[in-house]
């Protein structure tokens, strides 16, 4: 019999019961909660008179709607405010672990979970948020769910699931200078497409993935959902265990030794068989920039906007034409000639301390291009912000002309006041370039933090390696 994949191991350890047709009741260890997808679930619980099954499994915080203005005290938009207040009332009412506004530990759930050690290897982790896949970087089975499922987990600690197929994406070789985890995942999506991972749980492996830090691995797993996969994961190694050690919610003492030993088994067996294997050569990956309205519409910075006339598939051609119309771009325009209006550094993809360090290293001592309307840095959590300030990164950014903001989702999805105006082009370190994602009519180009920083200085895209 073939060995087990990491996904098999995580799955098997959480099966409460399984029907012959494969319908499985899967136990959930950690439930992260934010203000946007939870109110209707809390209300459902109340209406049916149910209590949370295991409230200690829940960690709640507001991130999507929260303002990022330095030192803000209230939320001006009454609808946003009500949503945040509703979470506040629900979390306090049910005595959940909760990081309210004003708590330095609050931030984007996918940044805070790992930071606090609430995300541990071997766990099943869910959140009413598609980028829950981020936590798979810890060899956890982590995926996004809808609001009905949020209520289901609250009430039963379980989800009704069917096992997905398994895919191994192996990236081998050493990344070139200036090439980052973000470029790897964009290159993967460019290769397999945004529906390439549909129906699969992806394990990322190979020497290029193993040599990434935990933050880099989180960036990769974060965007597994953009490749269509509900979950992405990376095996446990020393890097994982060192990252988790000493975090506030990580096990301590004897329990730590026991846990760390168990976690060492969280990798695919050498003879495990995957339903599909995709390989990439890390040495061939260049800094990536998206040109369209789907993350698969991506090319190297030294490339150009593609020409739909050369696309044989009529449906693809139509999407490309649609995207170019929306983006206001002409076929064959070199990526480096795309002028920018705003730059956004942040989000659960690239709002961690290493991301800010990488951006600051490019910016140090230079100035944001005068043609730019705005350049924004939004740390992923209050602790990331604190750390960055301790290292003086905030000064590097503000001296260059960047705004230094409070933590939150911010311009990643523009539910708060930070957004693009119609027609504006933005270099963004976030994960989605859909139409209107960063504001109605806004045009998003996804890039790494270093590429975003270089673009801010130049006012258009530039190859960070030649900068």
């Amino acid at each position: 019999m073939a060995g087990k994949t990491l996904y098999d191991k995580l799955w098997d350890a959480h099966v409460v019961r399984a029907d012959p047709d494969g319908t499985t009741l899967l136990y959930i260890d950690r439930h992260l909660v934010h203000e946007v997808t939870s109110p209707q679930a809390f209300e459902g619980l109340k209406l049916t008179g149910r209590q949370p099954w295991r409230r200690e499994s829940m960690v709640a915080m507001a991130d999507h709607n929260t303002p990022t203005d330095p030192g803000f005290t209230t939320i001006a938009d009454p609808v946003s405010r009500l949503q945040v207040e509703t979470l506040d009332a629900n979390a306090r009412g049910l005595k959940l672990r909760y990081f309210p506004i004003g708590d330095q530990r609050r931030g984007i759930v996918h940044v805070v979970g790992p930071e606090q050690g609430a995300t541990l290897p071997g766990m099943t982790i869910v959140c009413g948020d598609s980028h829950t896949s981020t936590h798979g970087a810890f060899a956890a089975l982590a995926f996004g769910i809808g609001t009905s499922e949020v209520e289901h987990v609250m009430a039963t600690q379980c989800l009704i699931q069917k096992k997905a197929k398994s895919m191994l994406v192996r990236v081998d070789g050493q990344l070139g200078p200036g090439v980052t985890a973000k470029d790897i995942i964009l290159a993967i999506i460019g290769k397999i497409g945004t529906a390439g991972g549909t129906g699969y749980a992806i394990e990322f492996g190979g020497s290029a993935i193993q040599s990434l830090s935990m933050e880099g691995r989180m960036t990769i797993c974060n965007m597994a959902i953009e490749a269509g996969a509900r979950a992405g994961m990376v095996a446990v190694d020393d890097t994982t265990i060192e990252y988790v050690k000493g975090r506030p919610s990580a096990p301590q003492g004897d329990l730590w030794e026991q846990a760390a030993a168990a976690w060492r088994a969280l990798h695919s067996d050498a003879d495990a068989v995957f339903d599909q294997v995709v390989t990439l050569d890390a040495t061939a990956i260049q800094p990536q920039v998206t040109w369209g309205t789907s993350p698969e519409m991506v090319t190297s910075v030294d490339g150009a906007v593609p020409d739909p006339a050369r696309e044989a598939d009529p449906i693809k051609r139509q999407s490309m034409e649609q995207a170019l119309r929306y983006m206001g771009l002409q076929p064959n325009t070199p990526m480096t000639q795309i002028k920018l209006d705003r730059v956004f550094i942040g989000s659960c993809t690239n709002g961690r301390i290493e991301d800010l360090r990488a951006a600051a290293a490019v910016i140090k001592g230079r100035k944001v291009a005068a043609s730019l309307k705005q350049a924004l840095v939004v740390p992923g959590s209050g602790l990331v912000k604190q750390q960055a300030e301790a290292e003086g990164l905030d000064k590097v950014f503000t001296a260059a002309g960047f705004e230094w903001r409070e933590q939150g989702c911010s311009m990643c999805l523009a539910m708060n006041a930070d957004r693009l105006l119609a027609g504006e082009h933005c270099a963004s370190t976030s994960n989605r370039n859909f139409e209107g994602r960063q504001g109605v009519g806004g045009r998003t180009h996804l890039v790494s933090p270093a590429m975003a920083a270089a673009a801010a200085l130049a006012g258009h895209f530039v190859d960070v390696r030649r900068f």
Binding site: A13, D129, T156, S319, M415, G436
Partner: protein, 212 residues
């Protein structure tokens, strides 16, 4: 949850690949703490010229007449015909609530994004994946024939065209059962409460740090 058995419905085509949930219901509507009030804002940016905000009265908003949902021939549609990877992007169940409130009960496309697919069943909507060639043909027939309807039979797992041609579709047996009966998942799961507790007891021995 509403049950779903049979449906004989008018079809509206949304002819784009990778329709994401931001397009189905834009983010400003996610600020609502309610489960209703989304139907008028379904595909807001493609449907209206102006910018929609929660609670707005949509009666007199300027409409984009080229968008199928605004064309008189598609009014009252209950079946939405889509392309590849329908419902990708954000996990927001509001997308399904918006479709449901608008009146859609069934979506047909070559493929659906995972979270959207499972969210659909929770509100009693049926997503049907059919072969890309079949969907392509249906698009042509819908556009050529005003008043084009399809008959969906969940028990038999068939979609039948006006000319009597029938396509079989696959659906997960458990989801089918729930949809046919209008069963609520939470109630079903709580019937296994003892097994959940037994699992927890066993797991607490194996991995006590998960319960610390």
């Amino acid at each position: 949850m509403k049950s779903f058995t049979q449906l004989d419905g008018l079809v509206v085509p949304v002819d784009r690949a990778n329709v994401d949930t931001d397009a189905i219901i834009p983010k400003q509507f996610l600020k609502s703490i309610k489960r209703t009030g989304f139907g008028d804002f379904l595909f807001d940016e493609w449907r209206y010229h102006d910018h929609g905000e929660p609670g707005m009265d949509c009666t007199n908003r300027p409409r984009r007449t080229e968008f199928a949902l605004n064309q008189p021939r598609y009014q009252g549609a209950t079946i939405l015909l889509g392309r590849e990877n329908f419902g990708c992007g954000s996990s927001r169940e509001h997308a399904v609530w918006a479709l449901e409130e608008y009146g859609v009960r069934c979506m047909i496309a070559p493929s659906f994004a995972d979270i959207f697919f499972s969210n659909s069943f929770k509100s009693g909507l049926l997503p049907i994946p059919l072969a890309a060639e079949t969907v392509d043909r249906l698009f042509r027939e819908v556009e050529a024939t005003s008043g084009y309807r399809l008959a969906v039979d969940l028990a038999a797992q068939t979609v039948t065209t006006p000319s009597g041609e029938t396509f079989r579709f696959e659906v997960d047996p458990f989801r089918k059962e729930c949809l046919l009966n209008g069963w609520d998942d939470i109630g079903l799961t709580l019937r296994h409460a003892d097994e959940i507790r037994a699992y927890e007891n066993r797991r607490q021995q194996e991995a006590p740090w998960l319960f610390a």
